[in-house]
Symmetry: C2
Subunit: 197 residues, 2 copies
């Protein structure tokens, strides 16, 4: 396929995560052959999102405003601050309807191997946000991966030094699971963190 | 994620083949957080391709011109016409460097279950193209799937009625393979189509 605009489209589609040259060609072929309107819609959506979306000045999540809707909501408990890695994680916590505090979205995680340090995920911003005087407790809801745990550890140490109450999501047996099929590390954690009742 | 431009972007990305709501969110997040330039590049590439790319008036493949470079090339054997399903298939045949004729790209295949009939893949155009007086042989290189075989059968019957020589890509044992691991249908075809030497 020697057409320059077609090659440019395949190259551009390859910038999407998880898209190689074969899938990019398939996407380009599909759009040009079966969904030209979709190509225009996607082009406009990309441009509008890239120009309109910025970071909430308080919690750092994606928003079109200076401050996002969650941070503006006066019904939210100002005393609790939940730290998550991404807006998708924030959405997952929201869907539980079990949390009514505010958020801080790191937009990443500490990952020394990839060269991502405290500055890249705005930890200073988080620390000043947590020290605004209203926040009573910081709930660490980073992922339970190696990087997410390390990130939680670094944040917890820094905030405890500043005298704040810090908690971490409970580790334990997932809802609806049978012990026989749960991995040993999870059961061990659930034993250590067992609750009296 | 309640931001309208973000939701619109995720919806637009879902129009790409093989992209569900989770991958679309991941793509949108990646572009907005790590590659805003990529979002702009992709938006422009989509618009340019959607406006510039059309179908070659001779072979029906994607091109920016009235007639594509392959059809314009005077070095190409005008007596041979290779029928393929997609530009990707055409590129695969080209990479072999074993064919110097011209092409007709169906941009699809007969698929009655999906409601795709002879008109949708421009068979009339192919028939008039094949009857231009120069074409001596039509080589059917549609895929060896059920739909591809049916498409080849329909085209072969119609062109043979018009007195043209029609051939089909050989079926047989793939290069570099061991008989022990080749499926029985392939070996059976290779036996029937065996060559004397």
């Amino acid at each position: 396929m020697a057409e320059p605009s077609l090659q440019a489209l395949v190259e551009a589609l390859r910038r999407l995560p998880g898209v190689g040259v074969k899938s990019a060609s398939r996407m380009a072929f599909h759009l040009l052959q079966h969904d030209r309107e979709g190509a225009q819609v996607l082009a406009q959506a990309l441009q509008q999102a890239a120009t309109r979306i910025r970071h909430c000045s308080l919690c750092h999540t994606f928003t079109e405003e200076e401050v996002c809707a969650t941070c503006r909501n006066p019904q939210r408990d100002h005393g609790k601050l939940c730290v998550v890695e991404t807006p998708a994680d924030q959405a997952a916590v929201e869907r539980t309807q079990a949390y009514n505090g505010r958020y801080f979205v790191l937009m990443g995680k500490l990952s020394p191997l990839d060269g991502i340090g405290p500055k890249d995920i705005g930890l200073e911003k988080l620390f000043s946000r947590a020290m605004d005087g209203e926040v009573q407790e910081v709930i660490l809801a980073t992922n339970f991966t190696a990087e997410g745990e390390a990130t939680a550890h670094v944040i917890a140490e820094a905030l405890k030094q500043r005298g704040l109450k810090v908690s971490r999501l409970a580790r334990g047996v997932p809802a609806g699971s049978e012990l026989e099929y749960v991995d040993l590390g999870t059961i061990a954690h659930a034993l250590v963190d067992r609750r009296s009742r």
